[in-house]
């Protein structure tokens, strides 16, 4: 693309906020009541962080791997690609992250977290699983347009960041979730919707927390 510096984020936004959230409404409508199962599975992830053992890390990583694979296929490829030409690329990135999480689940190298780090991770996991669906109401959207862990990308990614923080996961597992949070935040900001700052803020806070706890451990 020539004169790329003359393009702004808005030049790449090819759909309206209405089309974006109608996508969630139709997606949710088609899959109801699978949301109940998804939230229950999300609660299991929170439980895994609370218990914090090697076995629970494996369980959380496997649940997340399945969630990322599902979002890659059912959301990005089957639905988001209809209104965003980048949809197939997002699907590929989510599928790759699913694979990385699978490998992490099979070959855990993670260490159980310190108490303070565990609490931060628990807070973010709760935000992703329990609070994210409520954002629809807080931003005057309908219930049908709620974003649910395991089905919608943003809460799935924020929950993943929480798990990665809890177990001080290898850096390569962080790349796609952080990149998605930035891309999603930019999209939501351009759409002018409420809580657009949440995904990038979550990524920045969790990464900063990870670095902080790491330095703290090294110092002690």
């Amino acid at each position: 693309m020539s004169e790329w510096w003359t393009y702004s984020l808005s030049d790449f936004l090819m759909f309206s906020s209405r089309s974006y959230y109608r996508l969630f409404a139709l997606y949710n409508e088609a899959l109801w009541p699978a949301h109940l199962l998804a939230i229950a599975v999300g609660v299991v992830v929170i439980g895994c962080i609370a218990v914090a053992q090697h076995k629970t890390y494996r369980i959380a990583a496997l649940i997340l791997a399945i969630s990322w694979a599902w979002v890659a296929w059912a959301y990005h490829l089957e639905r988001y690609a209809d209104i965003n030409t980048a949809g197939p690329y997002f699907a590929a990135a989510f599928a790759l992250q699913a694979l990385l999480l699978c490998v992490a689940a099979l070959r855990p190298r993670a260490t159980p977290p310190a108490r303070a780090k565990q609490l931060v991770a628990l807070w973010f996991a709760a935000l992703a699983v329990l609070a994210y669906p409520l954002l629809a109401l807080a931003t005057d959207r309908e219930w049908l347009q709620a974003e649910v862990f395991g089905m919608a990308p943003d809460p799935t990614v924020v929950a993943t960041l929480a798990v990665l923080l809890a177990w001080r996961a290898h850096w390569h597992l962080w790349l796609i979730p952080v990149a998605w949070c930035l891309a999603s935040g930019a999209t939501l900001m351009e759409l002018g919707v409420g809580f657009a700052w949440l995904p990038p803020a979550a990524a920045i806070f969790v990464v900063a927390a990870g670095l902080f706890f790491r330095r703290l451990k090294q110092a002690s």
Partner: protein
């Protein structure tokens, strides 16, 4: 020249509109929409067209698709002809195609684009676009944002020569690559150029619009409202007295009249997902147009208020 308000034709139209309104309240009689010739052929097209960027990219949502269809139905009922889209616009082409299949408009002017690297891939993309539109052939194909323009222009000009396409064009937006646009306009046998132009973004007035007149190239104007930013900035601000002089009741109409009253402009292509806005936009293509002095005043007032 402004039409005589008491002419027999207008009186008859008013009577028809009233009597028609009694029977068909949903679709008022089409207003006499002004048209301009495509200079290379002399074929007239209405000065208000319909864009599809963002507004028609609604995916598979049946409700939103029905709304787009209602917009198109109103557009054709109001005398509109030219609909513009691109393979870059997500599901817009398919949404248009589905609506065309349902509406079966008598006088469609289909304008699409080719937007891909490489000439051979362009041929495939054009065919894929045609299938999505569900039309036997396009009226106008434009090279979108000058991407691989040398290769695509060759393809499009060959298609025109073979009778598989009626008009060839190029596009840009938001003032990008105007130097290159000018060179192509001066050297290639194109029929249409598509550029951004509105009461605030007037760079094309300097060279591109005069060159279009000189080279007898039609001009399609995109982003007449700066993708809604302009109408939003003017919302709530009263239309100055000149609005009534040219039959405008809204800023959107005044902004469109400013554009289509430029003698080099063939048509503007505002995009909307609202039936009410289509009606409003089409009205801007009727009645009295601002003269040069008033055009300057409109631009000054918009600069001051937006």
């Amino acid at each position: 020249m402004p039409p005589d308000p008491l002419s027999r034709r207008r009186l008859l139209q008013a009577m028809l509109a009233v009597s028609g309104g009694m029977v068909l309240p949903a679709h008022p009689a089409p207003a006499p929409l002004l048209s301009r010739p495509i200079l290379s052929s002399g074929e007239h097209i209405p000065v208000i067209g319909l864009g599809s960027w963002i507004t028609f990219n609604v995916g598979r949502d049946p409700q939103a698709r029905a709304e787009c269809q209602a917009v198109m139905r109103q557009f054709f009922a109001g005398g509109g002809r030219l609909i513009d889209s691109s393979p870059m616009y997500g599901s817009a082409q398919d949404v248009i195609g589905e609506a065309l299949q349902a509406i079966k408009p008598v006088r469609l002017f289909s304008a699409d684009k080719v937007w891909i690297s490489g000439g051979a891939r362009g041929v495939q993309q054009i065919e894929a676009s045609r299938r999505l539109w569900r039309v036997p052939r396009f009226d106008l194909l434009q090279v979108h944002n000058l991407l691989s323009w040398e290769e695509h222009l060759k393809t499009l000009l060959a298609m025109k020569k073979e009778g598989r396409l009626r008009y060839v064009g190029i596009t840009t937006s938001e003032g990008r690559r105007h130097d290159e646009i000018e060179k192509i306009m001066a050297s290639q046998p194109i029929d249409v150029v598509q550029v951004s132009y509105n009461a605030l973004d007037r760079e094309v007035e300097q060279r591109i619009l005069p060159l279009a007149r000189e080279r007898r190239i039609g001009v399609i104007v995109n982003r007449p409202f700066r993708q809604g930013d302009l109408t939003q900035a003017l919302a709530g601000k009263p239309l100055p007295g000149w609005g009534a002089e040219i039959g405008c009741t809204t800023w959107a109409q005044a902004l469109l009249k400013f554009i289509v009253s430029h003698p080099a402009v063939t048509c503007a292509i505002p995009a909307t997902s609202s039936v009410a806005h289509v009606r409003e936009n089409l009205l801007a293509g009727t009645g009295r147009m601002p003269d040069e002095a008033l055009r300057k005043r409109i631009a000054q007032d918009v600069e001051r208020l937006a």
